[in-house]
Structure formats: C-alpha cells, structure tokens
C-alpha cells in the first residue's frame, strides 16, 4: 500500500481538520470584523483551554480502552477544593497542586477497582462520580464558593502573558507534553499496546495493571486541574461546575479519534476535536444564531465532518 500523496489523499487523511478550517473560513467571511481577529483567536484558545485539558485525560484512559465517567465530578471536586483552600488562605500554588494530588489518588482508586476486581470501568467510574458528587455537595453545603476568594487565586485563570492568556499557554504546554508522552515515550507506547490488545501486552511483559492505574490517575489529575483552573477563571467554584465538561470532553476525544487515519484516541486529535467544538460555539454566538439553531448546526456539522472524511477514505459501504 503505497502512500499516494496529493490533495485527495490529504483530504482523506485529514478531513476533519479541513472541516475545521472550512468552518473557520465560513465564520471569517460572515463576520471578519468580529471573528477573524487576533482578539478572538486569543479568546477562542482561552475558551477551549479547559475542555482540552480535561479531554486530554479522557484520551489517556480511552487509549487503554477504558472509560472514566467521573471526570466531570472530579473537575467539580478539584475546583471546590482549590477554591476552599484559597478562601482559607493557603498558599496559591498549593491551591492548584493539592486538588491535583488528591484526585491523582482518587483516579488510582478508580484504576485499582477496575484492574484488581475486573469491574467494568463504566460502572466503577459512574459510581465514583456519584460518590464524589455527594462528597462535594457535603463539602460545600451545596453552595457556590466565591466569597473571600483572594485576587491572587484568579490570576492564572484570567491574566495574560505577552497577550496570551495563561490558560491558553497551559493548555498548549500540556497538549505538547502529552503528545510527546503518547507518541515518543515507552509509557505512551505501552498505553497504546494495552488498548490494542491487553492479553498480548501482558504476555509481552507489560505490567498492564500498573499502566492502567496510571492512566486513570493521570486522567483524574487533569480533571482536577481543569476544575481549579475553571475556579480560577470564574473566581468561584460551583459544586457541580465541572459536571458539564464530562460529555463535552468525550465528544472532543471521540471527534479526535476520527482526525487521523488510525482511528485511535490521540492527543492532537483530541485537541482538534475540542477546537472544532470551541470554534463552533464561538462563531455561532458571534453570528448571533439563536441557541436552538446553534445546537442543530453543531450536531449536523459534527456528523458531516466525520461522514465526509469517511466517504473520502472509502470506508462507507
């Protein structure tokens, strides 16, 4: 099978990316003044940053063929822990580190239940999500944490460095790091091998349990980080504030699977997936499309983007 280079081949291989570019062009033509501006580009990168970060975690767990449905609850918990600590006067860097560490442990528990007892990750993490929801509710009394949050806690979420929002920088850094990890390190290779064939990986001497546990733990850490960053961005933490990210993060990760030919969960794919979702939401609002129309268009565009690419690849039958 020789790689036939050329436009049509490129289209096939990167159809989803082209769909994304097409969307950008359409928006730019319709509202050049508002959409295709440096300001809005910066704006979009900041808006997708949280989604990208949490979706990176989802991608890690997906790469070992498992699911973590507790990412939303973990983000909510992470945000609340960080915000409460900030209110209590803890050093700001601790407010960001502590939730990440705590959720690393929780993720490990997820992984441990899944690998040790061979419980489906769906049911494990769904139950964990319920538990965490209850805990967060108790921890906050159900109320939004926002009073007495020090200004310094909101720096990371709101400030820019040389015009670039810190959030966007963190997102890009994490994306590059995890892309490198998944693509070029033994760790990433092992995760993909486990995802491809668990038994064969085990026979090949890979400690399947250890790596699965790590994938869950990293995923949970990223979710917690997303939560604190969200709290920092909003200057408040809502006990269910991160829940909405759960479905979106999987939407991004699944959209991302279609970006490259192999069809496996992958970091740049996830980034592109999140970016497409973000650009759609941004552009449609700027065009002042009514909400229901935004939903209709978003759904249709996602399906079209994926279908067109599949047709291009001749996968349709």
């Amino acid at each position: 099978m020789k790689q036939k280079a050329g436009v049509s081949e490129l289209l096939r291989a990167y159809g989803t990316i082209f769909a994304g570019i097409l969307i950008v062009i359409v928006f730019s033509v319709m509202r050049p003044d508002a959409f295709f501006t440096m300001g809005n580009l910066v704006n979009i990168t900041r808006q997708i940053s949280l989604l990208v970060i949490i979706a990176l975690g989802a991608t890690l767990v997906m790469s070992v063929e498992e699911f973590d449905l507790s990412v939303g609850a973990l983000a909510s918990l992470g945000g609340v822990i960080g915000a409460k600590m900030a209110v209590a006067g803890a050093p700001i860097f601790l407010c960001f580190i502590a939730p990440v560490v705590i959720c690393f442990a929780i993720g490990f528990v997820n992984g441990w239940i899944v690998t040790k007892f061979r419980v489906l990750s769906f049911i494990t993490t769904l139950a964990m999500s319920t538990i965490l929801g209850g805990f967060t509710f108790w921890f906050t009394g159900g109320a939004t944490v926002f009073q007495d949050i020090p200004k310094s806690f909101t720096y990371i979420g709101t400030k820019t460095v040389l015009g670039a929002p810190i959030l966007s920088i963190i997102m890009l850094l994490l994306t590059v790091v995890f892309w490198f990890v998944m693509r070029h390190t033994a760790f990433g290779r092992k995760l993909y091998a486990i995802g491809g064939n668990e038994a064969a990986s085990q026979v090949s001497g890979i400690n399947v349990k250890k790596y699965k546990n790590l994938a869950f733990a990293l995923c949970a850490s990223l979710a917690a980080l997303t939560g604190v960053l969200m709290a920092s961005r909003l200057g408040s933490a809502h006990p269910t504030g991160g829940d909405g990210l759960f479905l979106q993060s999987y939407a991004a990760a699944f959209l991302g699977r279609t970006v490259f030919r192999e069809g496996v969960p992958n970091i740049w794919g996830t980034f592109v997936g999140a970016a497409i979702l973000g650009v759609l939401a941004n552009g449609l609002t700027i065009l002042q499309v009514p909400t229901f129309m935004q939903d209709l268009l978003t759904g249709c565009i996602i399906i079209l983007a994926v279908v067109v690419q599949k047709i291009g690849r001749g996968d349709a039958k």
């Binding site: 099978m1 020789k2 070029h184 033994a186 091998a193 491809g196 064939n197 064969a200 990986s201 026979v203």
Partner: protein, 493 residues
C-alpha cells in the same frame, strides 16, 4: 466444472493480493491449494464466500456466472467454509455457534427451539465422532476444540463445495484423522473440496489436483499423481531446496528447570521440564494434555498453584511475563491473534513491544534504532511486508507468525518456549524457523518446542518430553525415536 474463476483480481491499497486468477474445481474433486504465506489463498477463499468483493474478473458456478455479494449468498448456492481465522462468538454455546448465520429451528414460528437445535448438532457430532461439551461457551474451548466446532458447523448443511482453509493447523493427529475420514465420505457423495494447507503430506494424501499460488498469481495446476513434494515446493518457492540440519547434541548447563508445576485452574496437575543450553526439547501430548498451560505457568502468564521454576540457575519465586523476559525467557503463544500480537499496531511496534524499555532513555524512545532493528529483523526473517509501519493485522498469517518471532528474538532470549511456532506457516518458513531455532540452540540457548504435529517434533527436536492429562510422562532421546513409541506413551494410562 462446478466452480471457475476467470481473471480474478483483488487489490489491497494498491497492491495485488490476487492477479488474473483462473482457477477451477470439479464436482467430487479434492483440490489442493498451496503457496507461500501471503500468496493469496485466503483472499481467494474470502472472495468465493462473499467476505471480500472482487475488483475485476468473474466467478462461474455450475456453468453460469454468479455474483457472490455476501456470505449468506455463498452458502445459499452451496458453499460451506472453514476460514483460517476461526469465526466463533466467544460467549455463545457450542449449539449456537454451530447455528450462527443459519436459520434457527423455531417453534410456533418465532421462538427458538433449543432442544431441536441441540439434537441436530449432536446428531452431526455423532456422525463425525466429535466430542465437545456443547454447553460451554466458545471462549472456554481450546483452539483444537474450536476448530472441531467449525467443522461441525460446516457439516450441518449439505453443500456442493466445502472449503477448508488450514483446518488442521491446530489439530492433533487423532482429530486430523477424523477430519480426513469425513472428507473421504463427502468426496464419495460427490462434494467438491477445496483444501488449503501448508502440510505437504496432507496434500499428497488427500488431493486429486493441486493449484500453486505465488505472489498473488497462479503458478499452475497439476495432477497430484504427476508430481512429488519437491516439485510442488519448487513451484511455490522459485526452486528453493530444504537443507538438512546437522545436530551437534552437545549440551551445556541446565537453563530451565521447572518442577512439579500445577496451575491454579487445575489443568496442569504435576509437570516437570528440564532443558539445557544447546538443546531443543520437544513436548508432545494429545490435544488438551495441558502443554499450552504448562508453558504459560512457567512463563508466569497463567497463575500457578505449586511448583518451582529455576531459570539459568536462579530460582524464580513468582514468575511473571515481565520478569521472565528480563531473565531471558520468552513465550511464543499458540493464540497468535489473541495473545501474541497487537493487531492494530504496526509491525515495528509489535516487534519492539516487549523490549521497548531498552530503547528508551529517560522514557523517550530512540526511534531510529527501533526502526533499524526492526528493519534488520524483517530482512533476517524475510517477513513479507510493505514496511515496518504496516499494520500487523494486514499481513498474511505466516508473516504475522514471523513478527511474533521477531519480537521474541529482540530480547535475546536464553530460553525460548515455543507453542505451535510453525502453525500456519509455509514449508519454507517452517524450515527457516527450524533452522533459526537450531541456530539459537547452537549459540547456547535452550528451546522448548511444542507442536501438535508429531512428525515435526521428531524432525526438529533433540529430546521429546511426553505429556498427558496435565502431567509430564516419559522423556525420550530423539535418536531413532518413532511416532509409535511416543503415541504409545501418550495413550498409556
């Protein structure tokens, strides 16, 4: 002619898997199809059975052209098949697997009549003299049992052409005999049989005519009576001749000593093995004697209940796959697709899978070295592939097996546990694998060689350890050893 193909072509991603195939099979004929790994045999079969569509060319059935668009149509016109890859539903019982894709027996027009289905399957099994517990799910059956189940399935309905793609690959002689007997009966009834195998004696024992495939093209069809084994092999392989290996029989120290192994699931009851440097130890037993499980216990993949494993003089407390590889022992699995390869990954990534850590500095993989090492293995094992980055599942069966070997060799093992290492590989590759194992042994490694093909065991090994009922029995020196002696030990109770 019952079936004819005319100028059949099939491409995968721009490469011809089949090119201008003209092929025919007559009623009541047993037609052998041979060729190296990747020659296109299975592809032809998949086209005839509606699994793949053809790119160009025609298929004629009973003197008129037909279009076979899906497996159902193929069966409806009278073709039954056992594919090379077993097609069973893991969670389904024997009865249901046999009825897969067939019309279920029904009562009251819609409810499945389980009793009637079971009775029919049992009737066919009795006729074939097959014994399988039909209540077990396919996932609990051993590979040979799965093959038997597929044979039962193929015999469920009357057919005019039966296609068998390497049916004996995981069968022991006893089960193979049963299959041959059935084939004989069918032939007598006028059923045509297309028989694909890499085992030359089967070809000469069973077939009337032989077609040889080479690189996706037909190298000709001959009457079996007119040719001999060497002629066929040279047609397949551009006049390659097998060389006889010289055996030194000089052994070094004991590299692997496994004693009184019992597996937790009770399949291996009490088994011991000793192999020395320079030795190829054959392990033979009937299907279900627990050889696979013994190797898996020693390797650490299957939990063991009792026993001790001593590797290169060091007692291993709790064997694990990772530890075994580190200590210089590898396992070539019997179940290639299930346990040996990660199908979705490339040839390269599979090759370095168990040694990936050694390519990594501070966790980062040195991809140049990885690529060059893989390239080297592709060349030394002459793996037929587009390149190191091809997805391994796209290789033909035999080439996949070579990748499994490539992976094993990467860790420079002192002890190789090989479970059916030559299943599904062509004669040439098989000889190459034998040669490779011999070379490794001569270089100081120890090899444990499990095969269901007794002749191969006698041909390739130095000593033979017999296993039966989960226990190791006698150990023979393979010097003038005969099949009868080994089998007698297997059946002795």
């Amino acid at each position: 002619m019952l079936l004819q193909t005319k100028k059949l072509c099939k491409q995968f991603g721009g490469m011809y898997a089949l090119k201008d195939i003209d092929f025919e099979i007559a009623e009541g004929e047993i037609h052998g199809l041979v060729g190296e790994n990747g020659a296109g045999k299975s592809t032809l079969i998949k086209i005839l059975t509606g699994v793949y569509s053809l790119d160009s060319g025609e298929v004629w059935w009973n003197g008129s052209p037909v279009r076979i668009e899906n497996p159902r149509q193929s069966r409806d016109i009278g073709i039954n098949v056992i594919h090379q890859d077993r097609n069973l539903i893991p969670a389904f019982s024997g009865v249901e697997n046999v009825y897969l894709g067939m019309d279920y027996e029904k009562k009251a027009g819609f409810a499945v009549d389980w009793a009637k289905m079971k009775a029919r399957v049992e009737a066919v099994m009795r006729e074939l003299k097959v014994e399988i517990d039909l209540s077990l799910p396919a996932s609990a059956l051993s590979p040979p049992q799965r093959t038997l189940l597929e044979i039962v399935r193929a015999m469920m309905t009357e057919c005019r052409l039966l296609i068998l793609d390497e049916p004996t690959a995981s069968l022991t002689d006893k089960e193979a005999e049963m299959l041959f007997e059935t084939i004989g009966k069918l032939k007598a009834r006028g059923t045509a049989i297309l028989y694909v195998t890499h085992r030359m004696d089967e070809i000469f024992r069973l077939t009337d005519r032989i077609t040889v495939f080479k690189n996706g093209q037909s190298a000709g069809t001959v009457r079996t009576a007119d040719v001999d084994k060497d002629a066929i092999i040279s047609m397949m392989t551009d006049n390659w001749v097998s060389e006889t290996l010289t055996v030194s029989r000089k052994y070094g120290e004991v590299l692997l000593d496994a004693e009184h192994i019992a597996s937790r699931d009770g399949i291996v009851k009490d088994a011991s093995l000793t192999v020395r440097a320079g030795e190829i130890l054959g392990v033979f037993g009937l299907g279900g004697s627990g050889r696979t499980e013994l190797l898996e216990c020693i390797y650490g993949y299957r939990p063991a209940e009792k026993g001790s494993v001593t590797l290169c003089g060091r007692q291993i407390a709790r064997p694990s796959p990772g530890g075994s590889i580190k200590n210089g022992m590898v396992l070539i699995c019997e179940d290639r697709r299930g346990k040996a390869l990660v199908g979705s990954l490339s040839v390269k990534q599979n090759t370095v899978l168990s040694t990936i850590d050694s390519y990594a500095r501070f966790g980062v993989v040195n991809e140049r070295k990885e690529l060059s090492d893989t390239q080297e293995k592709i060349e030394t094992l002459s793996i037929k592939t587009e390149g190191p980055n091809q997805t391994v599942l796209q290789l033909s069966g035999g080439n996949q097996q070579k990748v499994v070997f490539a992976k094993a060799l990467m860790s420079r093992p002192k002890v190789l546990l090989c479970d059916e290492p030559t299943q599904a590989v062509d004669v040439k590759t098989r000889a190459e694998i034998h040669k490779l194992l011999r070379r490794l042994a001569d270089a100081g490694s120890a090899v444990v060689f499990v095969s269901s093909d007794l002749k191969e065991v006698l041909e390739a090994t130095d000593n033979v350890q017999v296993m039966a009922g989960g226990r190791t029995k006698e150990r023979f020196v393979n010097d003038g050893l005969t099949a009868e002696q080994v089998l007698a030990c297997c059946y002795a109770n």
